[in-house]
Symmetry: C2
Subunit: 238 residues, 2 copies
Amino acid sequence: MQKKYGKFYGVGVGPGDPELITLKGLNVLKSVPVVFVPVSREGKDSYALGIAERYLDFSKQERIDLLFPMKKNQAELIPNWDRAAEKVLEVCGKGMDSAFITEGDPFFFSTFIYLYTRVIKKVPRENITIVPGVTSFCASAAAAEFPLVHGEARLAILPSVYDMDKVEEVLEKFDTVVFMKVNKVLPQLLKKIERLGLKNQLVYVERCGSGEERIIRDPEELKKLDANYLSLMIVKKH
Amino acid sequence: MQKKYGKFYGVGVGPGDPELITLKGLNVLKSVPVVFVPVSREGKDSYALGIAERYLDFSKQERIDLLFPMKKNQAELIPNWDRAAEKVLEVCGKGMDSAFITEGDPFFFSTFIYLYTRVIKKVPRENITIVPGVTSFCASAAAAEFPLVHGEARLAILPSVYDMDKVEEVLEKFDTVVFMKVNKVLPQLLKKIERLGLKNQLVYVERCGSGEERIIRDPEELKKLDANYLSLMIVKKH
């Protein structure tokens, strides 16, 4: 008898270093017959696939690309997420198990959440498993040997599009602040950090764990940097 | 010729499920001749060891326990951290490689930071490697299928001893708030969350991924709970 739905896994493959995948993620990826791969252009490999490809075998597993072009406005991607969810539901509906790969952790600033919220409306919760992953901010802190928080410290994590007017307030009230995807706001952000006297208490990390990883602590060097999208800055007060 | 210092690894073994260790963490644990294990009492196994023990072989690897009794005041543990650092330095000084195991991630609310800050004063940075791990809050969100943050959302992570007077302000300014180790403040915290009209937008997770994991969404059930130390609550506004 065919089961009604296959299992659907959201697998966080970690931030960049293929060795930072979890055993659980690896076991899922090796076991599923279908792998959903987010790509920004047709025929282009994804960052997530760059991390996970050594664990996959597309001569035996079906690869289904899901197209998500780079858009400033996430709302423009709604038709893409709808189409992606349809493809996942089609595979699930055949009783086939599948996994969607995503860099970092699936529920932490991952667009996987848009897919999950659609799929969960149709597929029973027990058929969906989220495999957590190492986040880019933890891996960046580890690579830079920059301890994040301990004891009574408070941590804030802000996305790139964060209102720049509130940066001072957050840096005042929190011990450590992680600014995600800082590439577009780097000069502005650095000015604020300098004004607060924190320019020697920061680290910038780009494409952590990949072959192109960059770790920069010098604000002067950062000011001249052509920063990558997969970047973050950690600022620590004490 | 004997090398001057051995390598010292801080390995995050993940939050509880042994399968959530990373490949990198696993490879380090299998390769080192010496493993440092944090224990709260002599002869007692640690939570971190409970996660990692299946990957270790103490017939071939030396186990060195480091004693950290449960203390309210972390300052009382300073002599323990000093002694622990001495033991690590002794092993490093012999040119032997070693690893310290810690639950979750080594630089995220881990007492490993106290050890790291001591060891780094004596051992060259290139001899120390931090292996990041899956944090309890990501694993809890995954287990509870409770997406954390996406898009422009802001995340705050507060320790248990956080000033309760500021909870409302943080919940007002952030989209998602993680309260770490909530066992002692649970009734107070629930009252505040109820007053803000957020009682149906929370999840409590205890000992995530272990055999004793509990996931509770009902505030009434939480009010009566004898909560465990390894617990957290996630509250999401939208």
